[in-house]
Subunit: 454 residues, 2 copies
């Protein structure tokens, strides 16, 4: 292919490669979705280079799929039409920390832990924690969130400005360094979550936060999932500054106990983390405990010491491992619906029944402050019946959520896995999204097949 | 005009009017921008009606300008091409309060105080407070904010879902009832702040909050504006839950003293409001006071009682009145730039110097937790020299902000007043905005002349 030769001559064969191992590495993400090889992997070092690559690809109708670390969960980074996998690992510089502005300017290949290590020197931290040590570019592309969004918001809330290279090679900035703006259309919000289908990010200006004076963690057990969720609603209603609220159902705790040989109480359990000042937190925790008590809480433990905190959250952290460990050779499939709070308890109970009916083994964990929960399933990709049952379960959970004002994906994004639910969820709004896509990428070279399907 | 007759026959002459008084009322907003009459004012009662009106207008290339209460400040609601002024005052129902979900579903003509009156029954409140008793539809159209956004965010952060009627009459929903979603493009964020140029809102689902257990207000005086801003940065950095932080410069306080015959200390002053639990706040205020002390704060008063609180905020509330009162027959012009925090103190000092140089009288007040400040000028619209000086001052403040990573409008929106700064602020991103506009409103019937200029 001519364009690969052209790129090699221009950028050198180290940064433009068709090495089979490298191609294979860029053929999949962490999901169960079928891999597909790119034709070439290109490692740009600047927005200008990305722009030139894009112009070439656009002229020659070559598909371009941005690639961060491949930690996406719905096949976002899989280049189903081959073409160029655009790997941002060489663009991983932290360009500027502005402590007074609570801002940091970074390249897209910077990872979450890399960023937090640097920010710590300034008494700051970056709040979004999706679990994986993803790149900030990838996190912006999928509008990632995770455990802390109940307090600090999702990825979209942190992005103040993006430098974006469009399909035709134009380089634009979508925002500014200000906390707010009413100037023109909100392009930042549009590009965040666009999954590489509208442009490639080459720089991000992100909001960061002061490291809280004190952090406390607690674990609280409840008779029913409904009691746990009701507690969360009351805590949020009172404005208690909780930074994380995670729900794990009793069956999942039983599985951790079996795996870790522990004896955690096998009840629906909330894991809560509080950020604030030391004195303020003492009061907040008292208050949260009294609310939990009103909803039948049978055990409420809390810790400030970081080691004891980690122990308290041990169940939550070990849940995925407990499942992976007992399922060697299987691949993880994670569901990701989100509902209004009032529908969450019912959804979690229904999900547990649906898992049981399916005959599959599944853990349930929820970012319950957001109404978002996951079912973690381990499936054997060589067993079509198991795949079919897992997909049917996923479809059931999505339909349940959509019929109750929910969404088919709270934080993982659409990729290829949720493309089939887009029409049901968005109706004619999907046509509007397609018009926007058509306006900005008329040849359809940018991450084709994602969001809108093949 | 045929279409007016058509509309009258269909909707009746009470809801389709060319009455001169009604036309005049819809020819202006609260700004100094030149009025222009619509050809007709139409009062729809449902999304279906808006859809039919839109189809008719689109077929016949008639301009459609949505109208809430006309409280916009940059000419947003002025129908410069005549046509239809689409008045939403008959669509003012609160459709559903969902306390467990912290959500409310409303029609666009609902006003802020109307909404809060209803929410109070449920122990909830709607956070955005732009000063004027605007409609929620108008607030969403301009991405309004105001004093509380430092804690609760701007209008865009509150909107979960919009029902939008597009230029061709299609009715779409942009979001869902969930706290977060990664499903498809973020249309909600795109439509919020689009100033009626992409569609008309016929229903909004908004996030609301629990009324805090306790509210405290404080007033703190500082030797310099820089000291006041540094205090704000330190307070925010520590994560103290401040709900409002307003800055008033010394000259503005002098003017209030003259108007109200009061003797408030004539120093740069911060007005701070804290929301939280009673015990938590006591600690937070101590903490804020000690931070202020480190920055030379000479007077730090606080009050919990609502009457005393109101008195404490008296200066802040009376500022606009103090200026209006002493300028009978003049019209208010309010600037609205926003900067990164680190640039705010310099900008406010520069603004005061620029006001003095201009020979105009101006108050400065800032939503300093957001980096957003306003200069309130009273100008004589019959005096071209005064208008020219005010516009030159406005241009100076915008250029200062744009050259330092800021934006030309923090919360008022572009309308016609800030259209001339869009290219400077957005560069090629403005072309992207125009592509989106073209994709959704190819005939340009929706609020023509706004954002992109004539």
């Amino acid at each position: 292919m001519d364009y690969i030769q052209q790129l090699k001559e221009w950028l050198g064969s180290e940064r433009v490669t068709t090495n089979p191992t490298v191609l294979e590495h860029h053929s999949h993400d962490e999901s169960y979705h079928t891999p597909h090889l790119p034709d070439v992997v290109v490692f740009p070092q600047s927005a200008q280079e990305v722009s030139e690559i894009m112009k070439l690809a656009n002229e020659q109708h070559i598909a371009v799929t941005p690639f961060g670390l491949g930690s996406s969960l719905e096949g976002h980074a899989i280049p189903y039409q081959g073409g160029i996998s655009l790997d941002f690992s060489l663009m991983n510089q932290i360009l500027e920390v502005r402590p007074q502005d609570f801002l940091v300017r970074v390249q897209p290949g910077v990872t979450r832990t890399q960023l937090n290590k640097e920010l710590k020197k300034h008494g700051l931290f970056f709040s979004v924690d999706p679990g994986a040590d993803a790149t900030v570019g990838g996190m912006a592309a999928t509008n990632a969130s995770g455990t802390t969004s109940v307090r600090y918001g999702v990825m979209r809330d942190q992005v103040r400005d993006l430098e974006v290279v469009l399909a035709d090679g134009r380089i634009i900035h979508t925002g500014s360094m200000t906390a707010k703006s009413s100037s023109g259309y909100h392009l930042t919000g549009l590009f965040v979550g666009s999954e590489g289908t509208l442009g490639a990010f080459t720089e991000l200006t992100l909001r960061v936060y002061g490291i809280p004076e004190a952090t406390m963690a607690s674990r609280a057990c409840f008779p029913t999932v409904q009691d746990a969720v009701d507690t969360v609603v009351d805590i949020l209603s009172a404005g208690v500054p909780v930074a994380r609220i995670e729900l794990v159902d009793e069956r999942s705790i039983r599985q951790v106990n079996a795996y870790k040989e522990t004896s955690y109480p096998e009840y629906p359990t909330l894991f809560i983390e509080f950020h604030g000042s030391e004195q303020g937190l003492a009061h907040d925790i008292d208050f949260a405990q009294s609310i939990a008590g009103e909803h039948g809480c049978t055990e409420f433990l809390f810790e400030t010491d970081s080691k004891a905190r980690a122990q308290l959250w041990d169940v939550r952290h070990n849940m995925a491992y407990a499942f992976i460990h007992k399922s060697p050779g299987k691949k993880m499939m994670v569901t990701d619906v989100c509902l209004p709070f009032s529908e969450l308890a019912g959804a979690v109970v229904d999900a547990r029944e649906a898992i049981d009916r399916s005959g599959l083994d599944g853990a349930i964990l929820g970012h319950v402050g957001d109404g978002n929960y996951h079912v973690i399933l381990m499936i054997d990709l060589d067993n079509p019946d198991e795949i079919a049952r897992a997909e049917a379960l996923n479809a059931h959970l999505v339909e349940y959520a959509l019929s109750r004002g929910g969404t088919c994906t709270g934080e993982h994004g659409v990729g290829v896995g949720k493309a089939k639910y887009q029409r049901i969820e968005h109706g004619e709004a999907l046509d509007v999204m397609q018009s926007l896509k058509q306006a900005l990428d008329p040849k359809g070279i940018l991450n084709p097949g994602k969001i809108f399907g093949a």
